[in-house]
Amino acid sequence: MTDRISVRTLFFGVYGELAARREGSAELAADSTVADLVDSLRGPGGLDWLPESVVVAVNQSYAEAGTTLSDGDEVALIPPVAGG
């Protein structure tokens, strides 16, 4: 059988407000990518307002949609930044 992985999810700024939570966790098939995670979050009854092109950081570094996730990763959903 396929192994499962668990990742920690973080929602910042307006995403935290829209998701009504600042963090959570997700169970995924092993070898899932960032895009797979975003798809699962946007799924039925989920965060359907998340843009396809959402910016994501994995373990505190910006990551591509194709980046493969590992068990225990910290995955942050990054709305448009507005520092400065």
């Binding site: 700024g13 950081a57 448009p80």
Partner: protein, 163 residues
Amino acid sequence: MSQRPDDRVRTWITRETLDDFARFEDIVGEVGSVEDGALLFFQGRVRRTNRGRQVSRLTYEAYGEMAEGELSAICHEALEQFDVGSIAAAHRVGDLALGEVSVAIAVTSAHRDDGYRASRWIIETIKVRLPIWKHEHYEDGESHWVGAPTPEAGASTGGSRFG
């Protein structure tokens, strides 16, 4: 006497005030050198008027550890790209009142052109890369996450509004 790059960059994310010029003067004194003929010091401050609305206060939220890492990375990249001597950069988080300093960047360089270009590059790069979000509170009691769709638009449109 050459210095390791790490000795020439100081960065931090903080809830403490950045309003004080003298603190940066001290840091520049520590990390700069007499080979640097120019110092460029930039402060971003909370402005009363933004996009035509009257701001009463701001809250900055940061992805703390990542913001620390990105700010340091940005300044080290500036050290690679520009002929500068030292860099000190800091960003506030938490609640800020009007006029308070949200971001401060000090750059020393042998020649002023490098200092102006590096300082500008750092603030522009902070604005696109640093994982910090600004929640503006307005005089009329409303509030808004800068860069996010308005609450009204958020209620009526799908995900493509971010596109």
